[in-house]
Symmetry: C2
Subunit: 424 residues, 2 copies
């Protein structure tokens, strides 16, 4: 593999997304699925689930009963139970620290102000096939925020959902579970069907179809962000361990969907070492080698920065969902990073920590959307209203200025509501 | 005007939006405008600006120089200057209280966690014609958050922008001002043109075209929320002043675009008094009487709740952008409200206070989107990343569990990145 220069725009172009931008065929087909589900409800969901998830699907399999937690635990290997309970505990602690307090204050003239925060009333958590931890990533902060109705959507098809998934739902006090996926699941949750009461917000990561469906239903309900296919950027210095760097590339490379992989460094020797190690691997001997070979061969870049400034310029332009900092002085780097989803610091912190057990969210903004979006957190499950209560003195003092501003905007009836208060 | 029962679903249907749902013609035409601007840049912007904002528009009028603040102040009436400076001060104080601190903590085993917040790099604030305060509503929190590039978009057409608007831009340290509006302005800010470098996020309220355009460009850049045409719900008890109630209805009724107006009360006598007062008005004698007559005649409902429970059920289902509480025991009401944008408490607090001078945001979620969205605030101008740095002990303890979880998900290369750490 070649090392490319950070200033080589053509070489970086495949890594540089300026936002969510799926192919037109996906956009159109997703629009059709949403419109079908909106018009025909369960009938359309059934049709698409059979087409995409398995011929054997039927509506009796749509809603899956969630067992009692102790009964569910008994069917899951002890090590997995421990791991899920540890993850639940760490997610709770990390998210719990992000609780935003209500605000209430009184100004000198007695006028009262406030911001009061409320849990959403209903949320759907999308969980891709074989991504049990995504239940915890969504449902733990949702329940911590106080959401009374938490729905999980996960593609089942004709197969029953796994015992682990059922245990995770029970552990997180999920209220409803539906064995559907893809754009049809997102449409059903947004618009409702005979079997599924619509929700106020849909969260979670998915593939390109699911993510595009979230984008299209936004407005009808809320969504968290556009968390599409996985991506990782490893920023490494000359002291980094090239085997760890390659390990991270291979790990993200095995996920389905178009992946963006990059190593960014001021150290040519480190990049050459990574290149050499990648070249020396017989990718065909690796697990999931077809996905890995495609991602490493087509979607991976080793990028040489000629200065620290250039390194940060490229890093922030790439705005990676996952960012590994395999550098000596990570805290100096942090101050200059503004666009990244989740950051993993040091040799001791592989991305897999954050994807499973660390407690930070694995649902991160991708495709360059970390320029403006953040990873899933407690705040995504709440909303707020503002409050103001004038004193008589405040409105008396303000009335003429309010009237002047309203009249400037051509709103005489607005002005009148201010002046009416002068007649008290 | 008739009083309708809160349980009369048909009577309430015109007030009940379940989310943003514009006519298909608007959706299609907006998509065409966005695709044109994306493909042809300034040329398309020019064409649409001439068609929608005035034949005399040309590209030399697109970017408007922002004067120095003292020079701009000299051209604005003293009362307006005072009002805008007061608004700026109050918005700063209200938004400043909503700053979210960074988070950093260390767990017992030494593993470090963090959440670091960063200002966005560029934001566009959409400002409808004659809505100077909307500059402050967007630019004040943007600059308070530290956004280095704040762009204002406001439809100018062939006319020069007003001195007041220029002063507001200077006062708020706006960096760039463009005299364009509508879907073409949103498309230009999202995708960029020869004259306008694209921004990371677009905020602000607009009409149906602008709001639909924001929905469509979301993903390419961030947006705040879907703040469409105005709406107000007045919740009043038997002690409410019916003249104030009617004043609020007439004020919001004079805004262009489809408006949703409602009065909700357990007191039939209060609702009858409001009805009588409305019936006694000769709407033709009012200012802006065409807009007012249409809104009061077609989009206003007086709603009788048969119990306190029913009142809150309807209130939260309507999820009004603006909510007036003209009741004795407002604090008891607040505890049961979860879906509203901005709340105005008591006889002394007309909505116009919040639209201009109170300091709370007038950019609120509408069309029922207050079920999941909040009004514009400091947090809209920041984003965050999470941080985790394992100790050697943490990764050693976690590695086997991580590997087990990754293998359960069918991700052997993920498992390997954990196991590699055991070989240290």
């Amino acid at each position: 593999m070649n090392v490319v220069a950070a200033c080589d725009a053509a070489a970086l172009s495949s890594l540089l997304d300026t936002g969510w931008n799926p192919p037109a065929t996906v956009v159109d087909e997703v629009a059709k699925i949403i419109s079908d589900v909106r018009a025909r409800g369960d009938g359309a969901v059934l049709e698409y689930a059979r087409r995409f998830d398995g011929e054997g699907f039927d509506l009796a399999k749509l809603r899956v009963p969630i067992p009692m937690v102790d009964a569910a635990r008994a069917l899951v290997p002890a090590k997995i139970v421990s791991a899920l309970e540890l993850a639940q505990d760490r997610i709770s602690r990390f998210q719990g620290r992000q609780r935003q307090p209500d605000i209430a204050f009184v100004e000198a003239d007695g006028t009262r102000y406030g911001v009061q925060r409320r849990p959403l009333r209903s949320v759907a958590v999308y969980v891709p096939r074989l991504a049990t931890l995504d239940i915890l990533m969504g449902a733990v902060p949702a329940k911590l925020a106080g959401v009374p109705r938490v729905v999980v959507l996960s593609p089942g098809g004709a197969e029953p959902l796994s015992s682990t998934l059922l245990f995770a739902c029970a552990l997180c006090r999920v209220d409803e579970l539906y064995a559907i996926g893809g754009a049809q699941a997102i449409a059903a949750a947004a618009f409702g069907t005979e079997s599924l009461v619509p929700v106020d917000k849909i969260v979670g990561r998915g593939g390109i179809w699911t993510t595009e469906a979230k984008r299209q239903v936004f407005g009808r309900c809320g969504i968290d962000e556009l968390a599409g296919p996985t991506e990782v950027l490893i920023v490494a210095d000359d002291g980094a361990n090239s085997e760890y760097v390659v390990g991270e590339l291979l790990a993200q490379a095995e996920r389905p969907g178009v992946t963006r992989l990059g190593v960014l460094s001021e150290s040519r020797p480190l990049l050459e070492a990574v290149a050499q190690l990648l070249d020396s691997l017989d990718l065909r001997t690796l697990e999931r080698h077809e996905l890995v070979s495609d991602a490493i061969g087509n979607h991976c870049r080793l990028i040489a920065a000629s200065s620290r400034d250039e390194l940060f310029e490229v890093l922030n332009r790439l705005a990676p969902g996952y960012l590994c900092l395999q550098v000596r002085d990570a805290s100096e780097y942090l101050g200059r990073i503004y666009a990244a989803g989740a950051i993993f610091v040091g040799d001791t912190t592989p991305v897999v920590s954050g994807e499973y057990l660390a407690g930070t969210s694995s649902v991160v903004p991708t495709a360059g959307t970390a320029r403006y979006a953040s990873s899933l957190s407690l705040g995504d499950f709440t909303r707020s209203f503002t409050l103001v209560e004038n004193t008589a003195q405040r409105i008396a003092n303000d009335a003429e200025l309010l009237a002047a501003l309203a009249e400037l905007d051509g709103l005489p009836n607005h002005a009148q509501t201010a002046r009416m208060r002068l007649e008290i």
